[in-house]
Subunit: 229 residues, 6 copies
């Protein structure tokens, strides 16, 4: 069951309205690395998890991402201000001026509608955890980009908070991964010598890895003579 | 802030696994009239509502729709069972067998990914309430269709519960609409005689409304001579 | 059968080209509450309607929405002018400058492609009529937003005309709804006490409805103890 | 202005209901080469055409494609029959059983929602006509595929009619192309020797064209030494 | 097998960074008539072609389109420069500033994500070749539009090169079409008199074609009395 | 520059046609964890990489994923066989029977069109590498699911090969990550105490991590009293 508390997870305020920045911030409400995506991915993955401790972590974080979504939307709302002039936002989508009445929307900064294509769910815990670790890192990167685009100190404080929370989630997902890393798709599934080959298909340039090749370089690494099953 | 309680809003169980029906039920998880759509529409609309009572209703219902989503997903999960054979579901999407490991997904029954294009947000309270009244009615219709497709008594009980709840939400949104119906887009916005014309553009057949025409029929109702501004 | 008459439903002209406003007006050609959506929704719903009078209303309005679409596109075309400079439109999509040669497109103001996800069809007349009433209200709201963004008197006249026509359609759909409101999904479908409960899931704040609770308040309204089926 | 005549462009009937084939036929209602796509493409292209004769052809055909859409939808409706059992259609989308109440929908045979991404509009008449010639050919191919999947003689008659009409449209677009082929993007736009080179990038195999190379083969056709501007 | 050569197919450089034009050029990386679309369409069509010569042409061109995609992306990358300020691009999508770190993306100029809905594959060689001839023409038109929007001489040289190459591909596809034009969907498939009718559904205006009507005008060309099967 | 070699990267054959399995295998041609997605993600990310060794790895792998895509498509083509009966595939999309003439398509197993929403590109190397490690793991999981659904020994050999290659790519991306892990978004970006808090938002259940809390548990972990900036 989900419940809502009207107190925000952390205070949100802005120095002054800034419709252009409001549009940019939409990226983390309805974009591919935004809060809605994170919430949906973790809720959805949790549906089939059996390990109660890990299920708890996923749902703790999912509820928090929902709460972040609410914070970001609150900031967009304040930044949108009360001026319904479409040309007040000089870059990005103008949908909030002519479609939603300055209401935050489930789109990214360019007006692309949120899609479940952003959500990765495989039913395999190692794969899902790796997806989440990567997703948190991407969310952090976007917040760093957004941080550079504004001087409003309160908005920056909010971004700092959210960025730190993504870091915390990253840590939590990594800890979960440590615990289950020998299960599911990470179990040996009949890896053979093909997993140790290196195909040099882009030339010039020859990647020299150490772990991949092992002590003895593979006898075959020529794409001209591909392996025959 | 959103919080999660591991107790479901209402108990969910199934008589036996039924992968074909699991696929059908996906319609109310990730389809256009499903629970995710309802939750997202009401949360999103609430962001800019100023009237605290009405904002409360929207968020009460939004949190409940999130909880319904969890119930529907739980039922899908149980109906999917443990047989990973893709051909066990004879109609509908097979994604849960080859992509998500039997995990519920954010798609409709045919595998179409959920999109924010389903969500209607205008920033105008009368319009948003009318959208919600219509949305609840459509959700009810889909649950009626789904009810006919299964005999599992527990699944039917869950559908009965959800259907009744949509009815309750419908009632609540109608009450809100009564309160605010003379505000926003419902205020007179300079309606002129064009709002009382009837264009008979599909022939044969001539709609005779009473309220539209008023006591005096409009002098013009002929599409051959359209109105000149 | 559909036929086309080269005379527009109502005259369309503009004071002067205005590529920025042309982009905004795209919202009502290819956006979620635009004319194409309305036309498609009503045509599609009409396919299975048996009541000849109501089928007639749907098709009268659908043909008119097609005719509105033509008017909006004609206005966009005039507003686009003849200057192929992409930077002449300072906000919104630039697709018409680099992709369509200043031709109106089936996208919204931000360039999002029109999708049938905007169209609601349930095969149930009460639900479809409620969808249409809500859709007309949303269309009206968007025209009000667009009206504020331009001073061109001819464009404003066109918007006034279209806005009044949405009002007329709204009236017609409401009249239809009166006639069939006890059919389809509006028939009593075994509503039980769950339809009269109120779950207070967002706190603080406690919605107090009158119609919902009835003379005797429900004995259960505590989400901590959800109903057991 | 668009008008609707309740008489179909050509009679539509079926020998008996066939929900599986109804699903297949959805391909030509809401698929990429279906009737809605054709209608939308020609209407949209016509908005900016100045040549009145060619504009007339586009709109004659567009209105006919709208009328075909109505015929295809009528056939789907009859084939869907009255049995709301989702498993009665053994392949393809089940949306019409659980979402639309057996109403035809704006999707293809797999339930993918129609999108304006199918529509090609460039504002350049030679390019648009070539797009239309190709679109008519693809529509014909899909009708040929669909013809093979059913024995119902009335459905086959309808397909024969539609297929012949695509052929007629193809002829009409080709005639238009003859008339304007030296305009727009077909005018010489500074073609240089790069337009006569042949890059043999897939090996082995060496395409030997006659028109391309001319009497003297180009001195350069080696991708190892790409042209330097 | 695909291989990559780090040398570009043709040199790409720019006079100076130009983030606004970088956004416009995205149209030919991830738009409907861009290089990715062309590459994907020809690769995909080639999978079932049996004629080895024609398969070779499709794959030669597909590999070249992949190489064009790389050139366009390289130009976008240079035009994006190193200034991460979102407002430096005054029109079009701002995603590259806040989402991709100035990396080229698989979107069009308005940020619409690339979709396989752009790709036409029918398994019928005449239809596929006509699709490709039209696609090359549209690509040429977009390059002409883009050429007008910039003065950077190196970017113009690149566009000239690409435009000439589309012309070459057009020629090659036309030659292929000559060779196979009596096969597949171009074989006589039982065309009857319906293919020679002309329905005058848009009035006023009466298209007079010569080839279509033949020496004797069809006895039926009145939409009021549609053909009865 | 990309080049194509008509020899496949590894031999592909099938014991016998199997249209149902052909549909399933579409998941790895045009699905979210399929070969096209992998190829596009790595090509796109490579555009802005400066480190030549890492750029080489990305392009080696990208070219190989293109080659895998060709292998998967070849297998689908053989499995589709020559029977154009739409009902021969009993589950999954029927598009290949009625739209593409048994040609492989850029869709997943349910007919959902491939979308660039699947592609993650951030311009930040640590984030992109984590995305790729996760993507390879998900691809491996889907191949494991697909392996279970078929007995055809040659198809299983192909899946074994591809699965092993994803494992190799995973190893290569991990090695790259080791080398650059202290750069970009992984540099300390002003992490504060908020990164070490744990919000217990789903109850009951209390995740106890070790690394997150450190030697001293955070003084705050109560969502009732959220942090104040």
């Amino acid at each position: 069951m989900f419940k809502h508390d009207k107190q925000l997870l952390a205070e949100v305020k802005v120095e002054r309205p800034n419709p252009t920045y409001a549009t940019m911030l939409q990226e983390q409400l309805g974009g591919p690395h935004g809060e809605l995506k994170a919430a949906m991915q973790y809720i959805c993955q949790s549906f089939r998890i059996k390990n109660p401790e890990i299920k708890d972590v996923f749902l703790d974080i999912a509820a928090e991402e929902m709460s972040h979504m609410e914070m970001v939307a609150t900031a967009i709302n304040l930044l949108n201000g009360h001026d319904p002039t479409a040309t007040s936002a000089t870059v990005g989508s103008i949908e909030s001026h002519i479609l939603s009445g300055l209401n935050p929307m489930l789109t990214n900064a360019s007006g692309e509608l949120w899609t479940a294509a952003y959500v990765n769910v495989t039913g395999d815990l190692p794969a899902d955890l790796l997806s989440n670790i990567a997703a948190e890192q991407r969310a952090k990167v976007v917040y760093e980009y957004l941080h550079r685009q504004i001087n409003d100190k309160y908005v920056r404080q909010m971004i700092d908070f959210l960025l730190n929370r993504e870091e915390a989630h990253n840590t939590m997902f990594r800890e979960c991964f440590q615990k289950i890393q020998d299960t599911g798709s990470n179990r040996d599934w009949g890896i053979d010598q093909n997993a140790r080959l290196y195909f040099d298909l882009s030339t010039p340039g020859n990647y020299v890895g150490t772990q991949l090749h092992g002590p003895t370089p593979p006898s075959f690494n020529n794409p001209q003579n591909p392996p025959q099953q």
